[in-house]
Amino acid sequence: MLETIPHVILVLSGKGGVGKSSVTVQLALSLVRAGKRVGVLDVDLTGPNIPRMFNVEDEKIRQAPGGWVPVRVGEREEGQEDTRIQLMSLGFLLKDRGDSVVWRGPKKTAMVRQFVTDVLWEDVEYLLIDTPPGTSDEHISLAEQLRNVNPDGAVIVTTPQAISTADVRKELNFCKKVGINVLGVVENMSGFVCPHCSECTNVFSSGGGLVMANEFGVEFLGKVPIDPAFNMMIESQGSWEGKGGLVQRYGDSQLCGVFKGITERLVVKVSPPEKGRDEKALSDVSGLN
């Protein structure tokens, strides 16, 4: 099913809690804001966060002839094509949001295969795949299942401190071993500007992602600061009234500009101009607001 999607991008990290899901969400929002059609596949089976982050925890996945129908989020303009973000996550299959999913490897492998082969994505141009931390069953299965799909590659997320880059180095070596192309490194939670005195503190140190990218000879896509307002935005979605969903409101976020830059670099990276795979991509993204 994924063979027909022009761009498949994984978001990976060896370390947990560094912001894989947040980066996935923001890449999706940035791509949509640039007029792209986006799908998000959440392969974190035991800790799926994508439904919460898009405020669609109560949605369910439906079975249609030929496969599973993804959940749509965003606003649909009347009379226009449905360009909303398409989501698939194990979170949509749970009876209660607090239920644990306790599976050993083979069950996980089966679910990953189903996610890759049985979802009815509709005209998606960019499919982003959010993953759990580590280099185990989900990752091995994903690498195997995606072999025929020929994904563009992976965005690697890390925070700056050594305890995080140490695990992420393992992820880079994993990519090398299983033949996943590394598109670049995002350094998340890099510095925090105190709202009281405007002094920047490196809460989780700074620069570690850049050093690691250089050492492994992969592109450094950018630094993302800590922005508590981002969490507030995600968490307050339920109380928004009137028009303007996450896609619009993200435009006011301090992080939107940062991710615009990262997304531009990524789009260029996955659409080499000489191949003309997606020539309009760059101008589209640059032309944004």
């Binding site: 060896g14 280099t135 305890i163 393992k170 709202p195």
Partner: protein
Amino acid sequence: MAAVALPLQANIMGPPPADPQLVAPEPEHCPGPSSDLAGKGDACAGCPNQQICATAPKGPDPDLPLINARMSTIAHKLLIISGKGGVGKSTFTSMLAHAFAQSPSTQVGVCDIDICGPSIPRMMGALGESIHSSSSGWSPVYVADNLGVMSIQFMLPGKDDAIIWRGPKKNGLIKQFLKDVEWGVLDWLLVDTPPGTSDEHLSVCGYLKGTGVDGAVVVTTPQEVALLDVRKEIDFCRKAGIEVLGVVENMSGFVCPNCEGESQIFHATTGGARALCKEMNIPFLGAVPLDPRIGVACDYGESFFDAYPESPACEGLMGIIGKLREGMGLPPLESEGVEEEEEEEEE
């Protein structure tokens, strides 16, 4: 269109069964190599393991008595868990270990079962070490006379090597950590786990259940995305029959080192760990504020607990230890060494 239902979950109530040696990976709909249906299920037809599974002896894992014997010399066994990644399980584990090890008469072990992302060796200043094995087992790496550590990181040829293992291999190693490591007589064994509810958790809970494990300490950060995963972890513990001793809220509040103004980096929009504990009726053990010096100490393998004993983070930790011990029916930390041995050194 019908809503899609979730497939059945692994059985986590019983003791871990004996696992036959397979010659090929389990097929997708494998009934389980040790289940009653092994070798006889629909998925077994054509599976290279079919004969092995069908003829393998059924029953509990024959290694269980060996694990029980090893664990019998350990007074208290705690699991440090969280559904969410990066909330500070390993940091909390190492701080807890250092705090317990303050008293020279208290023997402490830390077992790191995070196979894909082991952080304990770096945090505890033992990054370049390796383990020694003898006929009687593997000896832990000692970072202090009374503080031993075991981690897969000690077994890797290169520090950046990725461990690309599926479940069964991880389970095998965890079993060895519990069966073959010469912990000796310990007051505390702290088991640091990876995030999630998967093979590692099933295995360690299964193996430890019969050994009188005290229970699990759950670590979270204040925001709902983390609490959401923590709910799942607590649900898992309940299903697995592991007692939840309480929840620790980490990184709650950040104090600017420049102006001392406090801000919330991970907003507790749903009431944080306190509200979760109330809702799920489990003890709230306390909170540790976000202190950038903790991260630096971890990177350099220094004990934050020893370097900044007066910091709010350490005060938070001491409060947590107090509550934890109280819940376990133990006397406060100050009196431990005095009671167990006539030591006068500790503070």
